[in-house]
Assembly symmetry: D2
Homo-oligomer: 383 residues x 4
Amino acid sequence: MELLQEYKKIRTRTKEICHPLKTEDYVVQPIADVSPPKWHLGHTTWFFETFLLQPNRPDYEVFDTDYNFVFNSYYESVGKRVIRTHRGNLSRPSVEDIYKYRDYVDAAMETFLAQPLSLELQQLVMLGLNHEEQHQELLYTDIKYILGHNPLLPAYGSSPFTAATAANNQPASIPIKAGIYEIGHEGDGFCFDNECSRHKVYLNDYTIESAPETNAGFLSFIESGGYRDFRYWHAEGWDWVQQHHVGAPLYWHLVDGQWFYYTWEGLKPLDLATPVAHISYYEAAAYAAWKGMRLPTEFEWEVAARQFKWGQRWEWTESAYLPYPGFKKAPGAIGEYNGKFMVSQMVLRGASEVTPPGHSRITYRNFFHPHLRWQFTGLRLAR
Amino acid sequence: MELLQEYKKIRTRTKEICHPLKTEDYVVQPIADVSPPKWHLGHTTWFFETFLLQPNRPDYEVFDTDYNFVFNSYYESVGKRVIRTHRGNLSRPSVEDIYKYRDYVDAAMETFLAQPLSLELQQLVMLGLNHEEQHQELLYTDIKYILGHNPLLPAYGSSPFTAATAANNQPASIPIKAGIYEIGHEGDGFCFDNECSRHKVYLNDYTIESAPETNAGFLSFIESGGYRDFRYWHAEGWDWVQQHHVGAPLYWHLVDGQWFYYTWEGLKPLDLATPVAHISYYEAAAYAAWKGMRLPTEFEWEVAARQFKWGQRWEWTESAYLPYPGFKKAPGAIGEYNGKFMVSQMVLRGASEVTPPGHSRITYRNFFHPHLRWQFTGLRLAR
Amino acid sequence: MELLQEYKKIRTRTKEICHPLKTEDYVVQPIADVSPPKWHLGHTTWFFETFLLQPNRPDYEVFDTDYNFVFNSYYESVGKRVIRTHRGNLSRPSVEDIYKYRDYVDAAMETFLAQPLSLELQQLVMLGLNHEEQHQELLYTDIKYILGHNPLLPAYGSSPFTAATAANNQPASIPIKAGIYEIGHEGDGFCFDNECSRHKVYLNDYTIESAPETNAGFLSFIESGGYRDFRYWHAEGWDWVQQHHVGAPLYWHLVDGQWFYYTWEGLKPLDLATPVAHISYYEAAAYAAWKGMRLPTEFEWEVAARQFKWGQRWEWTESAYLPYPGFKKAPGAIGEYNGKFMVSQMVLRGASEVTPPGHSRITYRNFFHPHLRWQFTGLRLAR
Amino acid sequence: MELLQEYKKIRTRTKEICHPLKTEDYVVQPIADVSPPKWHLGHTTWFFETFLLQPNRPDYEVFDTDYNFVFNSYYESVGKRVIRTHRGNLSRPSVEDIYKYRDYVDAAMETFLAQPLSLELQQLVMLGLNHEEQHQELLYTDIKYILGHNPLLPAYGSSPFTAATAANNQPASIPIKAGIYEIGHEGDGFCFDNECSRHKVYLNDYTIESAPETNAGFLSFIESGGYRDFRYWHAEGWDWVQQHHVGAPLYWHLVDGQWFYYTWEGLKPLDLATPVAHISYYEAAAYAAWKGMRLPTEFEWEVAARQFKWGQRWEWTESAYLPYPGFKKAPGAIGEYNGKFMVSQMVLRGASEVTPPGHSRITYRNFFHPHLRWQFTGLRLAR
């Protein structure tokens, strides 16, 4: 019964996130990385229909057989799918139809969850809910991108979050002693496959900052010419800066000599004390080089994380996204979940202001390509 | 007062065309050539606001100063604009706001039109209305593309048009004698600048078919391997066929060995007697070569047009879109209307089933790039 | 026997054009439109081997069966071929091997031409020689591009041409009366299929300048901001200017405030009195618009050409490249020669300083896409 | 004096590698990753001129001031440079001129090396020689690509290498015990900055194969459908396979049902016992997944390497190319050497048959993007 309550709570929260949107906001896809909100609504529903209801409820009737083509994201095992870059071309199914789809699947799931389930099925439901929570976070970031790149710069509404609080006044460097440490998920709680298996790593002596870098720090980087000095940049980061004329984090606007920042409530003067957000890995690494420091590895971050406050920004690490010792892909479609992305991406640790409550873990491994910055990405320095 | 009636009638018809749409259908832009319906609604309104109300009504207050950026199409004289390929990224202004914008401008225009106007202003209003009628036609073609490329293949509704009637049973070849003929607009009625000035051309003896080619003809072309035989194609047409894997007109679907066609009412068996539609210039020219014939020039078409029935399809001609002798661009933004497109496009003559009533003329010069086929384009043979 | 002499003379001239090159210069292809000189040497030889020797000399042994793949340009009838953009990747066959190939084919051709030939075969040899002369012109333009885009800006040698002479001091406008004129090739001499058939056109009154526009004129256009004022440009020409940052004709270099021009002898101060060269159709049309005039049609040009001096520059006309009335493609591979390019290109008339002697005709129709300017292209104004 | 001998020996070997080439082979660049051989000859010479002679020999006169633009590879500190993809457009400087350039710089270097040098300068010379040796390896791989992608498939000559020997008959799995190991360069010999600093890592229990995988193994992978089964592939690897129609390692040719392989001596039947070469990281990882195993990390490889034979193939590892603890970029241009590439690439360990003698080390870290396979890349399995 707890699972049923959890199911209802999480499914309801998804709808609440979309509540301030106009119908039109559900439809568009300004860049390939952003999905239309209505696609998120359908896709998370499709997950429960496809992996829970269809295999385990013989009497279940699929809502609409065409939806598999539309709402499959990347599961090669489950048939053809709309190419990611085409999602924004689809006016149908309508938003109203997708909400009907949600209601239909929710009704069936609630019946399903009211009965006793095997441990395996319980875990699959948990996976579906964690999957939905990941999409809640993507909904926030994609909505911000859609509204924040509209020439009218409309507000989402009053901010759903307490503003990211200023860093404490005297950030301190936390020293960690060299030695063997344990990394990865421990215990019985839910985790994704990429957090396993728990294993030992050896770390050298290092220090890590107690607070993430702020807008004030990034403004100094800008003002001292950091975006125009190749010495701080990776070669491909420097190409990226040149090609896209990058000169500030995403959502920063220089208006008549003053810096503004696009927020949930529209364009506001830049708050210097807030942790910097919406930077690429290239920018994080260049900033660190400019400071004469570096990014921590994901292991250094995990070992030290109990000694500092985290959770406002996804923090870029100097670790590539690779399998842990003993990592195993699950068989079938579920096994496509994480392993197949383990190349060419960097690990981010922590969580952000738009991460669903209870969805963050000290062992959670987020990952993105190094040029991406529409997520709430920031950094913390190490040495 | 007639102008006012005409204004109301045409503006109302635009809304009627959009009436069967869901809000989501107004927003998307599946290819660069297609504009979101809501953009058409805003852009045609912006035309009246920008070229009529602002210069001639000193007390007129612009509805929203940001709209110029959003709804300017290609007028360099009138400031920056959203790049054509980005129109589908804009969720705002909302459909509702754009209808409010229409109402606001319509109210101002109706006051404006209730007073006596100079001849020049009357002509400018007429230009705005003809411009809106062109966009009515684009609305139909863009809506068909949006719905007809959705994986759910939704119907628009019951067909707004009587089905294109079958060709008469015995199409005849119409012979025309060589000699000097007059080409271009004549008289006092409205015309676009590209139809002027009226001038003489010399034509050699030719014959032209009394009816356009049908789906049956195109099916024979397909079945005899016409799409796979380079000899019938222009070099760049052949490249286009290879690159896009083209094997039939747009909206043709081969399902279990039978040909279907996407119509306003959804997918239907292909009607063989109907004039073929939705073909590129490359396809029209290849078909003609396969028949051992050719396309008429736009002059041959115009001279013969009183002797045959036309108006169901835009008919590709063998003429490039170039200025007539004595063509002059108007000064200012209005002068950007036609002349600047006079390179790399081909002329189409006639009209199509979605051309607004009264908007077709024997001297009307439509023009598109040779690879485009989302319009209701067909062909008529000559020799 | 005259044909044999002609064959020897033209084949020798091709080698003379390449004489100043280093081996490395024969190999590279800096842009898709430019072919490596060694490719021209091989391709023109392949033409005689494929269309003359193989079908008509049963005992002829092909020099190397792989060469068809390498040296076929675009003849779909004659098998697969190296894609145009890949020609510069081929280090083999070596320059030495290609010269051996030429010698081998020349020996066979000379034996072949020593015997009596049917009229049809004589015409095919003439086509091959005219084809080779076209490639002689391309050799000059491609060599200029290869050397003129090398950062060392090496000279080709002492100029093979008398400098294009200055325009006469008082260029005059030549008036032509309206009426019916005859256009196209007349008589027994060689012509390409695109010059046929001779036919009547009606021209309105017009005037055409007695001299082409000069560098001085184009410098005024530059200095008065012509490249930065959209009003003079076609829409796609304006896009081209923006995208490629075009601000002057090709081969113009602004060094310390002074204009230089890359010539056969290296970089030289710009000669103001010379007819402007190396401009695109877009630039020619924009310049004409800036002058308040226009380009002549190809028919206007042909009718007036006996009254002015021409031959230093290919002159852009306002005519698209389309078939004449009565144009027929020859059957087989030879028929691929001209007709399949009759879309999306503009006609140029005249000849240029690098056109082979005797290869220019008042009815000759050259054609290029509107953005190209590596040929010796200029313009003459009309009104 | 030993340094002088070493200098002469290495510089001479570079010329010997190029000896079988025709002049034309020095010029072309079929893909961006491949540089023209003459560019390698010039660039390695430019390194000594720019970093040794110019700063330390005040009387040294630069051979040609334009060469810096042509032969600078990616050193932002040393001025503008020819974009990598344009190197194949440069016919000049000629091959002959570049050999003169080498002779000129060699003469100056030999005088320079005949005198006593500071330790720092000796190390810089050593860096230049190691740099030249890296380019010797690239010369081999680039020459193979140039000849092996020519439609004539010319041989390089008689093979410069003893054929990669067959794997021993009974490859064994080598077990390694979990524990702390030391990684990275040790001692006084030359190493690149990316091999430092030596540091501890913790490894879990693992086994690694005593021999690399062979062509026979890869043929089984092909024949069992490995290239057509998405389950074995990373998502971006699967996209790469689809987009480029990859179905076998590079240089494999299926002719009439039999597999051939392009070698230094031309096309030969595939030798099944040889270690597989010319595969991408994606292919290596997919093959390992198909075998139910994995690639070793670079640390696992280094720790076990004394227990197996290596050096015929660069072996893809499961490690991304990232800095070691304590890694420091050198200041100035030399510091651009390795660090700026530490993102988005994978580490390869070992050496290949074309690696210069004495240039391989157990701590050497090679790195390439995961899709590249023109190097002699193979794999070894771990578990």
